[in-house]
Symmetry: C2
Subunit: 394 residues, 2 copies
Amino acid sequence: MLVQKYKDMLSKKSVIRELSEFATARGKEIGYENVFDYSLGNPGVPVPQEFTDTMIKLLQEKDTSFLHGYSPSLGNTYVREKVAASLERRFGLPYKKEHIFMTSGAAGAIAHAVRLISQPGDEILTFAPFFPEYHPYVDLSGAVLKVVPPSFEDFQINFEKASEMMTEKVMAVLVNTPNNPTGVVYSEETLKKLADLMTEKSKKYGHPIYLITDEPYREIVFGGKTAPCVSKFYDNSIMCYSFSKSLSIPGERIGYLAVNPACEDAETFVYMCGQISRGIGHNCPSSIIQLAVAETLDMTADLSVYETNMNLIYNELVDLGLTVVKPDGTFYIFPKAPIPDAKEFSKKALEYDLILVPADTFGAPGYFRMAYCIDTEKVERSLPALRKLIKENY
Amino acid sequence: MLVQKYKDMLSKKSVIRELSEFATARGKEIGYENVFDYSLGNPGVPVPQEFTDTMIKLLQEKDTSFLHGYSPSLGNTYVREKVAASLERRFGLPYKKEHIFMTSGAAGAIAHAVRLISQPGDEILTFAPFFPEYHPYVDLSGAVLKVVPPSFEDFQINFEKASEMMTEKVMAVLVNTPNNPTGVVYSEETLKKLADLMTEKSKKYGHPIYLITDEPYREIVFGGKTAPCVSKFYDNSIMCYSFSKSLSIPGERIGYLAVNPACEDAETFVYMCGQISRGIGHNCPSSIIQLAVAETLDMTADLSVYETNMNLIYNELVDLGLTVVKPDGTFYIFPKAPIPDAKEFSKKALEYDLILVPADTFGAPGYFRMAYCIDTEKVERSLPALRKLIKENY
């Protein structure tokens, strides 16, 4: 007898996946180059040549047991040292290898972090709009994801609601900055206010409330700025990182969990991660990918296309009179639909071969997401369609 | 507050790991070449050149988004097709890609299989001696691992006890053949008898009892023989495979789960696996490793050294008068210690720089395991030490 909870998940098809399947089918009819597919957050830029060169060099020069042998259950020690040194250099916090655990992307890191600090029935707080996959990461651990409603004017944090919902049952707050789907980066002011609130509540309840930070878009920030380092603002914090976007290698499933060196029991955390991995049967990312990433840690793919695309789309949306917060980074933008029902709007957009994702599952009904990790040339061709969609209907 | 169950696991240090750490430390004193380390099942033979060549060719010739882009959550479709075709060709069962789910080795496959078919409180039956990591795979899912005592004379199955312990609570039987730690391959007779028993019990209880087969050693069988295909004997079976041993790439964490095409709901199984992955945050093995494995599916590393080593050790053990069942495959041998307390024996062996693993955690106290995946030259040098250990003490 198959377990019902997983069977039930099958019937709830992801809106994003349905739209993406529509785009593929429509592409077969009219040519995929004519479908303006803004549905998937699949990084489109090439992997840096240095990554490919490093892989080839490793394969040509190193012993196969070094390349493909078991890595320790916390990750390759040399790789963990390199990650820690890079974080220390970049953010000034005293990370050592003892604080680093190699994971299958940010997803693996978040799912581990949730299991580390919550029991079934405990609550994890996040802020809308939010990445819908947080639900399986949290729900299937037995904990409960509670979603604080959005602060629509700027997509920073709705602190009034956050304070209200940060009850004794809350064991962790999960934030995503730069944010999917809004593209907004939490300001230093927001992070400081959040830290103060969490410190106050931790004291009040007599147990730590951990800050889990989902940071796969950390290197995609516009205007030559950098995103504030969330962990600097709060000691009991767990950084979840992925190389999927920075190196454009999402299929390699590699990232890390970095426990704040100032966190209580910081080193125990990492050892416990190894135990969680034993239970789920997934130890470490690929050994050769770990080694290759260690040599290209501070590099990124050429991410400038995302800013170019953002400016094109943002200016067009503003020009069309749509309400939209200008993204600080990522490759997402999150406008308000011209009608209250964003699903209906998204359906209408399909008639113009525009694939836009209604944001109901992101916790912000009435809004839609565009993932502009596509060629600039295609973005340019999509703008007349967008204009037509708005002008002819709203 | 860190979750206690994972903290508790930290205090239960693995005997194998402790011994392996001792071996490393002792190696620093006297040179690692002088430590006869039979503790770890870490394949020592080189990766086939074809695997390395395939990896380099992929990196040199293919587009980076093809190589490193997201793979679908069930695994790369092309790879799943190739795996299914290979299984069909080799074993004559009509596998299609719909039956294949790519995993992080056999570990990931087993942990998924357990979660597919059991709820907290349900029982999973396995046969001693067994791979101790079955405990975390099962225990942390909430199900209960029940261990049928060994059939010491041949390390096939103790059917009297198996029948007694296969109660209504049992949802699956987990077998490992060729077996770690005994090296024994279950005979066709054993598999037929097991299938009959499971069919009878399934009927009696009115629910299927699934057969989960852990087969990472399938390609390491001695005397030019092959291991019987377990899935041929029982429809409701789930094959868990790893390329760790066949291609000598354990660090790449790649394998698959293959549901018997005759299994009820076979295709739903695979989709449900994708949902389990979402929950634990671990989607798919590395994309480039999937592609490389697809091109080297029916190859193996040169595994002949394991048979050479086995014969050397087996003959010596017999000559020394120890009770031992001759392995049919793998790179393990499982002799009876010359005294009832195998831990004490293993401790004494350390004085001779012999690292032997007492089998208490394998569910067979009084026995010990030798993992002979080391150089033949070292095996030869270890035999006088083994002889001395026995002659001087027992």
